[in-house]
């Protein structure tokens, strides 16, 4: 049996679970939790099997059927496109989704009948996310893209009775919608120019297509990625999205859905690479996002806030890597471009594992202390040994300490950015931003870790340990995913050394196979590697002294003057929420008001004026209706006589 022919079953199982849980879940004792685990689990087994087959054989399989046929020129299809990138995404998404669903059994335990809705929506999400990965054309991707957006909206607003959650859900939906509209415009351009949206056909048609139109298409497609992957300037919805349950943050807003944007960039990589400007733009957006999101994470007051900014920042790294790749490709460095392409996706995979782990760990912490404020935690290390150690591994990984996974991928992204700097100086600036971001990443992650697990217990911790009755850590269903993900956060980077290595399996047209020795020599003889290691270590040391030893008081630093103003600006998220509101209220709402006024006074005015004229003139003319028949007759006679005379005068009767 060839599993690749049955790969379409991968999303079917979670969707089947969605239907079963949706209709029957409320009657089940665990509100459908078990069915969800089974559905997602079956999907995972198939996905891992498919991915294994794809990666070991290196096959590329496409199958499709015509779906909407309006004319010979206008056809939409449904199908599967299975290649190495899809395989990697399948592994990441299906595995993390399965662990998160298992974790949810414990985490959502106290939510009662609401779990029914939760499990229904999470199954739907997993199904459509897997569908998105399998798509063989941009339109099908867009379809599932919108569906994951819907699930994101539903799950952010899971506690819809909280005004903040309802607001956050709306914001996420509307802000990503800006990107979706751009995605759609990109699709229109592609379709009108190339008459197809199929990946392979689009890629092969690029050589003969109009270059400037393709640049526009690439720009707008990337616009979709900006929205979905929370890139500057549409990044601000993601921190708000933390109002949803932590499992949702882990699955949707860290490990899977936000990666859809990066995946879109990977799929439109050849289109982006046709234009140097758009490639540069992609890289610049990625680098700038990585930097500013990291600065905001420095002083975020909530544990999930830190992680959310960190996610935005790391997504920026991935986009930076892909942008650098497209730029290198455009300038003819095809092998380097292929490595850069792999580097972006390598970071996507590693990030999904360690960030998923961090979110689930944060979930365990929040589950324990019932607060998200970092200031109220502290000293939890004594009570939550497993969470502490697993989160330490992930923190070290994201900070980029060798040999943990984050080190390999972040280093590779920075290296390719540096290489792209040879072709365009802007990438040099972006590389500097990237290194600074690496430093800040190490600092804020350890600030969080020390504030949660180190130091003396603050009121939240005391409350939980004295009155909460929680003498134990989270249940087993929650700890197992933590440990498994921590193992991957430690080791997923070592996929560099398995078989052909990561860059030998996940690449764009040019596989880059390197032996273990060569790889190690290359990494550890490059001065760039030591720059990023020094940045990471100094970040950790700084965090150690200011938040554990408290030799440097962070509060004193930001007490007055410029640091204080800067601190406030960061807490205000660079005023982005205010700007969104301004754009929303003043821009969009103001424009709508203007149109409303136009409608009310000009359009309605014309209609009303016509009717008012008729009513008024009718009031005057009706006086002619006297009711005296003889006056009518007289008028009739005069009228007819006048007509006859007139006709005679103009000569019609002669």
């Amino acid at each position: 049996m060839d599993i690749l022919e049955y790969a379409w079953l991968i999303p079917v199982f979670p969707l089947l679970a969605f239907v079963i849980v949706g209709f029957l879940g409320s009657k089940m004792k665990d509100k459908g939790g078990l069915v969800a685990v089974l559905g997602v689990g079956t999907g995972m087994v198939l996905a891992l099997w498919t991915a294994y087959e794809l990666l070991t054989t290196g096959r590329v399989v496409e199958s499709s059927m015509e779906w909407v046929v309006l004319s010979t020129d206008f056809k939409l299809e449904m199908g599967m496109y299975l290649d190495n990138v899809a395989a990697m995404m399948l592994i990441v998404v299906s595995f993390i989704a399965f662990l998160v669903v298992v974790y949810s059994l414990g985490y959502m335990h106290d939510q009662g009948p609401r779990r029914h809705r939760y499990f229904t929506e999470i199954c739907l999400f997993v199904g459509v996310m897997l569908g998105l990965i399998l798509a063989n054309n941009f339109f099908q991707m867009f379809l599932f893209w919108e569906l994951v957006g819907l699930c994101s909206y539903l799950l952010i607003g899971f506690w819809y009775e909280r005004p903040a959650a309802a607001r956050a859900a709306k914001k996420a939906f509307l802000v990503t919608r800006v990107g979706d509209v751009m995605f759609m415009i990109g699709l229109f351009i592609l379709f009108t120019e190339l008459h197809t949206l199929n990946y392979e056909l689009v890629w092969s048609a690029l050589d003969t297509a109009d270059k400037s139109l393709m640049a526009f298409a690439a720009f707008f497609l990337f616009g979709g990625a900006i929205g979905k992957s929370a890139q500057f300037p549409l990044h601000d919805w993601l921190p708000d999205a933390m109002e949803g349950p932590t499992t949702v943050s882990a699955l949707i807003h860290a490990a899977t859905m936000v990666n859809a944007g990066v995946y879109l960039v990977a799929r439109s990589f050849p289109i982006i690479a046709t234009s140097a400007e758009v490639s540069l733009f992609v890289g610049a957006i990625g680098g700038v996002t990585a930097f500013i999101a990291a600065t905001m994470a420095l002083c975020a007051p909530k544990i999930k806030g830190v992680l959310a900014y960190s996610t935005v920042s790391q997504l920026g790294y991935m986009i930076l890597g892909l942008g650098a790749g497209a730029f290198l490709w455009h300038h003819g460095h095809h092998v380097e471009a292929s490595i850069a392409f792999g580097a972006g996706l390598f970071h996507l995979m590693n990030h999904a594992f360690f960030k998923g782990q961090l979110f689930l760990g944060a979930g365990a912490v929040i589950h324990y202390v019932h607060t998200e404020e970092l200031k109220q935690m502290g000293g939890l290390g004594k009570y939550m040994k497993v969470s502490m150690i697993t989160m330490l591994i992930s923190c070290l990984s994201i900070a980029g300490i060798p040999p943990l996974s984050g080190f390999w991928s972040k280093d590779e992204v920075l290296a390719v950015t540096f290489e792209a700097g040879d072709a365009g100086l802007t990438f040099m600036v972006l590389w500097v931003l990237g290194v600074l971001t690496a430093f800040m990443t190490a600092f804020y992650m350890f600030r969080m870790w020390f504030m949660v697990f180190g130091g003396k217990p603050n009121e939240g911790t005391r409350h939980a340990t004295e009155h909460g009755g929680h003498k134990h850590e989270a249940p087993f269903t929650m700890l197992l995913p933590l440990i498994l993900l921590a193992a991957l956060a430690f080791g997923s980077g070592l996929s560099l050394f398995i078989g052909d290595g990561f860059f030998g399996s996940i690449y764009f047209e040019h596989a880059h196979v390197m032996s273990i020795g060569e790889r190690l020599t290359e990494v550890f003889t490059s001065p760039l590697t030591y720059v990023s290691i020094v940045a990471a270590v100094s970040g950790i040391v700084l965090a150690y002294f200011s938040f554990y030893k408290t030799k440097v008081s962070a509060e004193k630093v930001v007490a007055k003057g410029f640091p204080k103003a800067m601190h406030q600006l960061l807490l205000d998220r660079y005023k982005f929420p205010v700007a969104y509101d301004k754009i929303g209220y003043v821009g969009v709402y103001g424009f709508s008001l203007l149109l409303d006024k136009f409608d009310r006074y000009v359009i309605d005015g014309i209609v009303n004026a016509i009717s008012a004229f008729l009513v008024k003139s009718g009031g005057v003319v009706r006086k002619l209706q006297t009711g005296f028949v003889q006056s009518y007759t007289t008028l009739l006679l005069i009228g007819v006589s006048l007509i006859v005379i007139l006709l005679y005068v103009v000569g019609a009767l002669r």
Partner: protein, 100 residues
């Protein structure tokens, strides 16, 4: 043979008298009679042109017109009778319900 002009002048005079009667007289019976007069003026025209152009269609038309006029008068008289019963009047100015 009587020249066409003479007949046309007769019909015009008849029509003018009828029109004056319709406009000026207040008694509804006389108004009705005046209308008949105008109708007959038109009929004379039809017959006159028919003989002038030696085409029988005009005469046939006139016959139809006379027949229809008879039916119409019957209807009109019935309405008048009812009106007189209800209003106790034959003055056209009393019949002015249909107005603004």
């Amino acid at each position: 043979m009587i020249p066409l002009e003479y007949v046309l002048i007769l019909s015009s005079v008849l029509f003018a008298i009828g029109a004056a009667g319709v406009i000026l007289r207040k008694n509804i019976i006389i108004v009705l009679m005046s209308i008949e007069l105008m109708l007959n003026a038109a009929n004379i025209n039809l017959v006159a042109f028919s003989s002038h152009f030696e085409d029988g269609t005009g005469q046939a038309f006139a016959l139809f017109s006379i027949g229809i006029a008879a039916a119409e008068v019957a209807v009109a008289l019935a309405i008048l009778l009812n009106l007189n019963r209800l209003r106790k009047s034959v003055d056209v100015d009393d019949i002015n319900l249909l107005r603004w």
